[in-house]
Amino acid sequence: MAGNGSSFLGWPVLRQLASGDLLGRGAAVTSRRTRETEPRTSTADRVVQSVCPYCAVGCGQRVFVKDEKVVQIEGDPDSPVSRGRLCPKGAASEQLVNSPSRQTEVLYRAPGATEWQRIDRDTAIDMIAERYLESRRNTWQELDDKGRRVRRTMGIASLGGATLDNEENYLMKKLYTATGAIQIENQARI
């Protein structure tokens, strides 16, 4: 509709007269940036169907990805649960993912230390595995005080799961149970 801006005909006064926008309030005054505007939802490389991570209503989300970065998250109009709508938290999901304060490094605080230090993830998982097995050894109960077989550890506990996936909860419960840890809990109890 608006003429292209780079030619002589794109010169504002001429546009103003040519377009009929005599007062220069519409088509005639659009800048090149305005004329080339496109929503980032249209220029995304792909759109992925997801589910809102906040409450348990389970609203559908569409995640727009450009250059392997999430550029927009909005409601999925196809969802019979939410019909494309999101509450303020769901609408802030993109900020949750791209938050500048988000931690992406593993941090370690030694006993008595006053500061964090960065460590490698691989090292951290090794350290945790060692501590897990050591604490399990330290606190192993084969029998309880009444002599009944319990084969467990009361020295390792876990809290969390309600914000995680079913598959994650499944692996957690499976692993903890196999190691004899039983104090496994989540928000459902809170």
């Binding site: 809102c52 348990a56 941090l107």
Partner: protein, 912 residues
């Protein structure tokens, strides 16, 4: 919900906490449905509701009980439904004695343990009608250790979806409902004193308003209409929270509102996968699919274990528990699990009591817990008695926090308020802390189970940034490395870990394939022609080891090798049931017990409320949903008396997971604090229980400790030191303890500071100014908050006395990393738990409020102590299980097996 004619939202602030779910309420309202909001505060839900009913926090059983009484006394219940589909006509044992006759305790109470033996609550048996507690009767648990027994069963949903085991379903019924021992008559007597006047005096609700609510429910129930209830943590977070929900269930059954479109009781859950984390539990007391965790002394063998879940002679699908259990153990221990070794049943660790999160925190304080994983939670802010939580973290040897941001739980060692008070010193805290960055929901693929039991697959959009990783990858890796370190171990205790099936395919980024895990959860045929095929239904599971399946209720999610949770047929391309979007357990049913939407003969109750019905010609149940019933069972089918399991489900037994096929008005088993909801005051209450001498729920779990003190209640001396009631809650703009909201600028800006909501009357009484500061002091701690003076909080008149309630959102915490911070309302709370589900009471407690900011440093502790000493509190205050009664009543209680006096609580310390 959109199909409801009346929606009662009670114990939930749905518009604020589930705004998008609230669209269905808004829609029902636009179509003319009546919306009633019953809540201590006028919230954004009340703003849209037709009626807001302010109620004193913690008195819901009185209101619901009075409506029950109203419909029973005036014959307003749905008679045909009640007779056919509930246990109203069933006779209860002669040994049952009601709270109305024992001044606040039911028969079977053991004051030594604070627990009930539910034997006397059992149904009368057809086999031995007069001697129900003899052989033919329904046996209670027979564990020889009352403590272990009651404490293990205290794990409430050990019985989960199963209800409780019954030996059989040979009950005696009087369908005229006249026999004095029918459930119906017991109910009538139990609620007789729950009158509109009682509601006025206890709940603070005027009589006219009570009638308005009762009339709305009655007019909108029956063949043509349905009423729906919605609740959330406003019901669960009480010392008798499970009984609040039971009370609503009784009312909904009486009104015929269960299993029908627009009916039911909606539990509005607060986290994306909180339903899933109960189904596949990260909970101490259950295994996937609500199978119980084994208890030492009770479930020593697989046989004992299975017998406790279901008798083969009871009705319904729980009789197949052996198949579910064998399939689970096959999924976990693979080839090592054989029929000869009871499928490695012995590999499972045993419970010896309650090992919930609060008990665990007290163990931490006592130095018994070395390592703690905190995964996507923020207990330093979000758990009750947050102070105790933080102090406990300092007693650990190591702590792993997995989150997106540096939440307060991760930084407690440098930023917690206890550092400021001098109780903790960073250099003295020996806890090693690992902060592991987590992946967000778009950086991993997997399923969430939403509040209506629907699994929805999320596709991965991008890979996690930096060193962030999913829990799936982390736990897989942790397990792999522990197994590596133990490889070759000959220690018998390492067998479960070494025999564990722990081999999941990984993609090119090294990420575990979530679908492989979901397939394991769904389960496989292991032998025969179909070996290697995925199961299509839990009915294919076998107890002989020929099938596997990690969570029987989820079986079918991968039927035919297709990930059905990823179904995404757009809503405009399917009907309103939307069965092709996601997958709901069990078997993609959207409304549970939907057989009840048809009458006993299988015809819809009405054209308007048609949902599932019997197609005589086809000889099948048909309708808008997957029938939650054996598909070809004729409504007229009656089982032979000695049958059990699914075959024993009558053609008119809609409640197929209940052991007698009926909806339970009276719970003969399964509830640990009574077969009927009855009113007790909250742990801390300014009001005396008007019904009984017994002030509080005698079955609640108490923890008498010096760091867990309570204000005196009612008219006890010192109760005036903490004269106000406070309640805690969420706001739309934040999410629980703030980990996913206080770090986001757009959400923080909308609710930037901790505040308290008070009425203009209270503000005037105490001298609070809108926008100023207030200090709120409880028997545990003191916090500060900005003041919002508002008419949305109204003083109530309870027995002629003005009672002020204070509202406190609980999203803020003290740290240095979030966009906004503030004191945590959870610091004010103590630990007292509902005995069924071990959820703490955080919706009601006592406090004082004063103008100005709180003192800092040591002065804060002194302020709290000054209050405690003025109120004369000791560890015993409020922790008495039984209140003193007359000798006469004590004798009557003793005769009913509900012993006389509890020992002083300090002697029973270490409960749990």
């Amino acid at each position: 919900m959109a199909n409801a004619d009346c929606i009662v939202i009670q114990g939930s602030n749905m518009a604020e906490c589930h705004p998008v779910g609230f669209q269905w309420v808004a829609e029902a309202k636009a179509r003319g449905a009546r919306v009633i909001h019953i809540d201590p505060r006028f919230t954004r839900t009340s703003a849209i509701a037709d009626t807001h009913v302010p109620v004193r926090a913690g008195t819901d059983v009185v209101l619901l009980g009075a409506i029950i009484n109203h419909v029973l006394s005036n014959d307003l219940y749905f008679h045909d439904y009640v007779v056919a589909y509930t246990n109203a006509a069933t006779l209860v044992s002669e040994d049952f004695v009601d709270t109305e006759d024992l001044d606040g305790v039911f028969s079977g109470y053991d004051p030594r343990t604070g627990a009930y033996d539910s034997e006397s609550w059992a149904y009368q048996s057809r086999a031995e009608p007069q001697v129900p507690d003899q052989e033919g009767g329904i046996q209670g648990p027979t564990g020889d250790e009352p403590d272990a027994k009651t404490r293990a069963h205290a794990g409430g949903h050990t019985l989960g979806a199963s209800g409780a085991a019954l030996e059989h379903a040979q009950v005696v019924r009087d369908e005229t409902l006249q026999h004095p021992r029918t459930v119906f008559q017991i109910l009538r007597r139990h609620y007789r004193r729950y009158t509109p006047e009682m509601v006025r005096d206890v709940c603070g609700i005027p009589v006219e308003q009570f009638h308005e609510v009762a009339r709305a429910i009655v007019e909108n129930s029956g063949r043509e209409r349905t009423t729906c209830f919605a609740y959330a943590l406003g019901w669960t977070q009480h010392s008798l929270g499970a009984q609040f929900i039971r009370a609503a269930a009784i009312l909904q059954l009486l009104m015929g509102n269960m299993g029908r479109p627009g009916g039911g009781i909606m539990a509005l859950r607060g986290h994306a996968c909180i339903q899933g984390s109960t189904d596949i539990p990260t909970l101490f007391n259950i295994l996937p699919g609500y199978l119980p965790m084994p208890v030492a002394g009770e479930h020593d063998t697989l046989e004992d274990y299975l017998a406790s879940i279901a008798s083969p002679l009871q009705k319904g699908y729980w009789t197949e528990a052996p198949a579910y259990t064998a399939s689970l153990l096959k999924a976990w221990f693979g080839d090592a699990a054989t029929p000869d070794n009871d499928f490695c049943y012995d590999y499972l660790p045993r419970l010896t009591g309650a090992h919930g999160t609060y008990q665990t925190v007290m163990e931490m304080l006592d130095g018994k817990v070395e390592g703690y994983f905190v995964v996507g939670q923020n207990p330093a802010v979000g758990s009750a008695h947050a102070r105790m939580q933080r102090l406990a973290l300092g007693q650990l040897r190591w702590l792993v926090v997995r989150d997106l941001q540096l939440i307060e739980t991760a930084t407690f060692w440098k930023d917690s308020p206890e550092i400021a008070t001098g109780e903790l010193r960073t250099e003295d805290i020996r806890t090693e802390v690992f902060f592991m960055p987590a992946a967000t929901h778009v950086e991993k693929a997997g399923t969430f189970t939403q509040t209506q039991r629907m699994l929805q697959w999320r596709h991965q959009a991008v890979t996690p940034p930096g060193q962030a990783q999913s829990e799936l990858d982390f736990y897989y890796e942790l397990g792999r490395r522990m197994r590596e370190r133990l490889a070759g171990s000959t220690d018998e205790r390492d067998r479960p870990l070494l025999d564990l099936t722990w081999d999941y395919p990984q993609d090119e980024h090294g990420e575990v394939d979530g679908e492989a895990v979901l397939r394991e959860i769904n389960g496989y045929h292991l032998t025969g022609d179909r070996a290697g095929e995925l199961l299509s239904s839990f009915t294919e599971m076998r107890a002989d080891g020929s099938t596997s399946g990690g969570c029987w209720i989820y079986t079918g999610v991968f039927a035919g090798g297709v990930n059905r949770s990823a179904n995404r047929v757009p809503r405009d391309q399917q009907d309103e049931t939307a069965a092709e979007w996601g997958w709901a357990w069990p078997m993609n049913r959207r409304i549970l017990y939907n057989r009840a939407s048809a009458d006993p003969q299988g015809r819809p109750w009405s054209e308007r409320k048609k949902y599932v019905w019997w197609d005589e010609e086809a000889g099948r149940w048909v309708g808008k949903d997957v029938p939650d019933f054996p598909a070809d069972r004729d409504p007229s089918y009656r089982p032979a008396p000695d049958q059990g399991g699914p075959a024993a489900i009558s053609g008119d037994d809609p409640f197929i997971m209940q052991s007698d096929g009926k909806g339970w008005l009276f719970a003969p088993k399964g509830m640990v604090d009574g077969p009927l909801p009855t009113h007790y005051e909250a742990q801390e209450s300014p009001v005396r229980n008007p019904l009984y001498t017994q002030q509080r729920n005698p079955g609640r779990l108490v923890y008498p400790r010096k760091d867990n003190l309570w204000s005196p209640s009612g008219d006890e001396p010192g109760s005036d030191v903490y004269p106000y009631v406070f309640t805690t809650y969420r706001l739309t703009e934040h999410h629980t303890a703030g980990g996913m909201s206080r770090w986001l600028p757009y959400l923080s800006e909308l609710q930037p500071e901790m505040f308290c909501e008070v009425s203009p009357e209270l503000a005037a009484e105490v001298g609070l100014e809108n926008g100023g500061w207030a200090t709120i002091v409880s028997a545990r701690s003191a916090i500060e908050a900005r003041v919002l003076v508002t008419d949305r909080v109204r003083p109530l008149t309870v027995k002629g006395r003005t009672l002020h309630q204070i509202g406190l959102p609980y999203h803020w915490g003290i740290g240095r990393d979030a966009v906004v911070e503030g004191d945590s309302a959870n610091d004010l709370l103590g630990l007292v738990l509902d005995p069924n589900v071990h959820i703490q009471e955080s919706k009601v407690a006592a406090c004082d409020i004063r103008p100005g900011r709180r003192p800092h440093g040591d002065a804060l502790l002194r302020l709290v102590e000054e209050y405690q000493s003025r109120a004369g509190i000791t560890a015993v205050t409020g922790n008495e299980r039984l209140d003193e009664v007359t000798p006469e009543m004590a004798a009557r209680r003793a005769a009913a097996g509900s012993g006389q006096q509890a020992p002083a609580p300090d002697e029973t310390e270490g409960e749990g």
